[in-house]
Symmetry: C3
Amino acid sequence: MERSLAEHAAQVGGEVVGDGRVEIRGVRGLEEAGPGDIAFYANKKYRRAFETTRAAAVIVEPGETRAGAIPLLAVANPYLAFAKISTLLHPPPRAEGGISRSAAVQPTAFVDPSAEVGPLVSIGARAKVGARTILRAGVRLAEDAVVGADCLLHENVVVRERCVVGDRVILQPGCVVGSDGYGFAFDPEGEGQGPRHYKVPQAGIVRIEDDVELGACTCVDRATLGETVVGRGSKIDNLVQIAHNVEVGPLCLIVSQAGIAGSTKLGMGVVLAGQVGVIGHLTLGDGAKVGAQAGVGQDLEPGAIVSGSPAFDHRAWLRASAGFAKLPDLIRELRRLEREVEELRKR
Amino acid sequence: MERSLAEHAAQVGGEVVGDGRVEIRGVRGLEEAGPGDIAFYANKKYRRAFETTRAAAVIVEPGETRAGAIPLLAVANPYLAFAKISTLLHPPPRAEGGISRSAAVQPTAFVDPSAEVGPLVSIGARAKVGARTILRAGVRLAEDAVVGADCLLHENVVVRERCVVGDRVILQPGCVVGSDGYGFAFDPEGEGQGPRHYKVPQAGIVRIEDDVELGACTCVDRATLGETVVGRGSKIDNLVQIAHNVEVGPLCLIVSQAGIAGSTKLGMGVVLAGQVGVIGHLTLGDGAKVGAQAGVGQDLEPGAIVSGSPAFDHRAWLRASAGFAKLPDLIRELRRLEREVEELRKR
Amino acid sequence: MERSLAEHAAQVGGEVVGDGRVEIRGVRGLEEAGPGDIAFYANKKYRRAFETTRAAAVIVEPGETRAGAIPLLAVANPYLAFAKISTLLHPPPRAEGGISRSAAVQPTAFVDPSAEVGPLVSIGARAKVGARTILRAGVRLAEDAVVGADCLLHENVVVRERCVVGDRVILQPGCVVGSDGYGFAFDPEGEGQGPRHYKVPQAGIVRIEDDVELGACTCVDRATLGETVVGRGSKIDNLVQIAHNVEVGPLCLIVSQAGIAGSTKLGMGVVLAGQVGVIGHLTLGDGAKVGAQAGVGQDLEPGAIVSGSPAFDHRAWLRASAGFAKLPDLIRELRRLEREVEELRKR
């Protein structure tokens, strides 16, 4: 796995400034890096750490310079280059084909011979597991669940019946795909037993498209009818709630503890920051961005940037928030003005 | 499972307008429905879809009409009728009596012979599982846990020691019943070792009453002493936090990611929308409704409707929120007025 | 386990007022307590319950009196004394050394003979479990995970590869230690396949220090590089999100559904109330306190007390929130004032 800086530069399409022969054995932050480590510098805030780092080399933007003799790898997107070099040094696990003796696999299930089924995994009737996919300990695939190729399902992940997971999907521990949507019809009579919330069958499924990642303890509810969809290449953080019949477009980013209510549709590349809430039956246009803890109650145009609860234009919200903190002063000024006007009227 | 429209109408107490002999083989949305499907129409927003649907029949409110020859099922509560017909077409799973070979059941546990214990389930000493109850793969019942009849515990659900689950309860995957409440007494000395947070034993239990549903990864903490209770027929969504000694009354609806702090009591039919927070030791009266992302810091009267953080009357909050967005304008107007008053005074 | 009131008083460093020979067999709230029970009274709000309790004895602050003959245990910190007496009456479980037959333990793992490994637990290669530690049913330790002595890992807890858990740590059911951090570099080319979010390897670990408790379904992400740390004696509630490279100092309290974004550092004794969000790369000074649902977007000084989203000084926030509710009135008054000033100008 050891490669020279020049080899890494060629791989990521960058240029070496200085001695390209230095061997890179690890990636590390500017402050922690030592001999053999490559670090990256992209944020002026860390200029001092860049100046004083003991790294063997640093990934920088083209044109960046530094006093001192450390070789630099200049590339248009240093963070991406760092990620690619780190992947070479920390390759993802490869499936060791085979089924653990302690796993419980129904005879009608199909597991590709190249897939790895960990200890105490259960796989239901007619479920399918694709090539080179890894199911870590305690994963649950219910009957007729389908998981594609090259997936990594971490410990205690649950994929409920008939749900479909694409290729190259990563599911973090404890994540749940296909729980029942939250749907109840109020029944005032309850067949003579008094009022009740009558459960609406959640007969649909969840479809997770290719290259998606779902975080730990994130829950994606199955559709009432039809499909709940998480689109190709979208990345979802921990403890996120995706309700029934939601459609998340491709390449979305949904940060921890955000929640999306039923039947809402997100376009391509939508970003929801942490703890955002979105009500049901909305449409969020391509590239819309929602600030942390915001509450979205209306459709968003493509490219909209909103904050606040209820959410509106982010810049207007910044100004309104500044005003909020000054409210006690404003009230005092208003009172004073009232007195002054009263005095003027009396004259 | 195939029935005619007329049979369904009789079942749900509705009336057929048109040909009642059409066979119903599925339920589907107005837009997706085709031959053999029944759809429902209750929201004027979907009028166009109602006019153009290819469904075999549509459930509507009495008096509703439509150009074109599709038979209608007219009934007072179309959504409830839809739910009931959908239940006939998607019946809940029935227990196949028996214990999976891979399950680990303590000899002193009692499992009703009609109950179904899935693969890799563990059942602790003296635990009880009632008739026709289904425990899906990986469910954990700790010692002395009691689960009633006709329950459905999905994959990887945990019920800790001594907790009690009633009849007809549904627990979604990964839900936790009986985790320790969050209780610590600050101990400045720590027996000579310096300050510490001393754990207060959480010696009570959780009691889940009949007909309750808890969502995926929802957590209900056991009481410090006594019981945490989720009342009869209440429905709780995913990722909800119910703290120790909370009492949720009957028929409550608690939406995803809401949280209730310790010892708070909810009356009957209380509704908490998504991401609501309620502080501890409060009483929320029967039928109180709390808007999404609100933070409740005071007792609520029966029937109260509140929003905001901190929460107050919903209508007043709507007006205040409208004002919030206008704060920058208000400040500008106030400044102008100040100048004008100053000028008037100078005159 | 039965002890006299006098013995308990000696144990907790308090004094008996009345007959110290009464036997204490249980702890209970003032209202539920009966013969043999000890209760505690520290909050004037419960004066009436204190006056009418049927408890055998009551823990109170020194100097507290009560009409009627119940013996009192007077001590400086009644809640702490209650917790200690409750611990004697509800001792934590003790490990029964041994490995359940249904557990899947890799041959290269080390399990201390005094540790208890419950049913259907999996322990990966080279993992270590310390003395007297209990792993309840379904716990997952991945390869090279290390768990110290005297720990209690509840049902379905996951500790991923290489993560380190100290001594006397309690992990509630479904909690996840070491899930991947949420890190992606945007790659506009995607090697000719179009744009993608390129996964940044999460090659670091999580370190949970001694005496920590993590709540049910709480998620602590592993570091991108280096360590995510939860410091000695910190107590974290259910459904909390701790992102990659976060450092939580010692003795912090983090209440349910709070979330901390990447690389943020909390000092000693920081308190985050329920549903708080903290953005990334911040420093929260020792003893800082954040009110429920607040959103912290800036560093906090030691001892700061803040509320609101975005958060600022708690007292100023209380005043601003009071003003918020009055906004519609303020607008009306401003309009009136404008008319009056207009009239004055016309004169």
